[in-house]
């Protein structure tokens, strides 16, 4: 732990307010990579459409991974696709988060037993922050997953690693 960390580890007023500000900024403008795999991608599109509007929470789909902070892995990650998902995750700039949407990317879903070409869960390739169960999860479930992620970001802190 550096000299500075000991100094601010218990977090006085200045640190906590700036921390809250940064956390608030990070959680209220999560830009999502427009990247869909399978049936969950259609539900993700329905969530960003007019009825369940993702934009209310500040989430806009960005085409390039360089400008996005959250990657919603929506659909079955196959072995052929797993390396691409890993590279896509590595291309994203640093405070990045992963929502694994749908039981296929959580644990292999209906293809867990005989899917010879299906990766049994995307967390074997990239670290996952929030798992959204369902096949496909309803848009409300995805919104709840996003709120869970926002809660997680709200409690993150810079000083205490």
């Amino acid at each position: 732990m550096g000299l500075l960390d000991k100094e601010f580890s218990e977090g006085n007023i200045i640190i906590t307010t700036t921390e809250n500000l940064f956390n608030w900024a990070r959680l209220s403008s999560l830009w999502q990579v427009s990247f869909g795999l399978a049936c969950c991608a259609i539900e993700m599109m329905a969530t960003s459409a007019s009825h369940y509007d993702f934009d209310r929470f500040g989430v806009i789909p960005r085409p390039s991974p360089r400008q996005s902070d959250v990657i919603i892995v929506s659909g079955t990650v196959t072995l052929k696709m797993a390396l691409r998902v890993k590279r896509l995750y590595e291309q994203m700039p640093d405070p990045k988060y992963v929502i694994s949407m749908g039981s296929c990317s959580n644990c292999g879903g209906p293809y867990w037993e005989h899917g010879y070409h299906v990766l049994k869960g995307v967390d074997r390739v990239i670290p996952v922050d929030v798992y959204v169960p369902g096949c496909p999860p309803r848009p409300e479930a995805l919104l709840e997953g996003l709120l869970k992620l926002q809660e997680k970001i709200r409690n993150e802190s810079l000083s205490k690693s």
Partner: protein, 176 residues
């Protein structure tokens, strides 16, 4: 609109040298068994003949008949020796609206069939899929390589009945 008998009669007197096997008593769809090295001439004839004109290959399915003799290896899963793989060709004529089913039998150990891509272009990907999932080698196919599985997949052909999952693929654990 030609019935199955008329088409098979036409085929027989067109190719006297090939011994077709007409299976008309089979449940639901009668078919004709064609030897693997003659399939492209037969298909060319079926497409170009005036009153047949089978101008569209509806479906080409590979099936692992799994009829060789089974042996068990040490982990208890079975290994197959001999037996046959069969290919079903569903043909249809859009003009006359009649359909026909052809079947080709090749042996399981090194299956090789003549490719019909020169007759119908839609056969290209169907044959690549049959090669990828069953290992059937199609002679003079434009570019025969895997289509669904990763190109560097060297653990055999997945849809065969005696296929075992590999433990790892490029650092990722495959089985659950």
């Amino acid at each position: 609109m030609k019935s199955f008998e008329e088409i098979s009669k036409l085929l027989i007197n067109q190719f006297p040298s090939i011994n077709f096997e007409i299976k008309s008593d089979v449940k639901f769809e009668p078919y004709i068994i064609v030897p693997p090295n003659q399939i492209d001439n037969v298909c060319l004839f079926l497409r170009d003949n005036i009153d047949l004109q089978f101008d569209s290959l509806v479906n080409l399915s590979a099936v692992d008949d799994f009829n060789g003799e089974k042996t068990k290896d040490e982990q208890g899963n079975d290994i197959m020796k001999g037996g046959t793989l069969s290919l079903y060709y569903h043909l249809e004529s859009i003009k006359y609206r009649h359909k026909i089913l052809l079947r080709v039998l090749t042996d399981r150990d090194n299956p090789s069939v003549l490719s019909v891509t020169s007759v119908w272009n839609s056969a290209n990907w169907h044959e690549r899929e049959a090669f990828d999932l069953f290992g059937i080698n199609f002679i003079n196919h434009p570019d025969l390589r895997r289509i669904l599985m990763p190109y560097d997949w060297e653990f055999g052909h997945p849809l065969r009945k005696d296929y075992q999952n590999p433990e790892f693929y490029q650092g990722m654990k495959v089985p659950y």
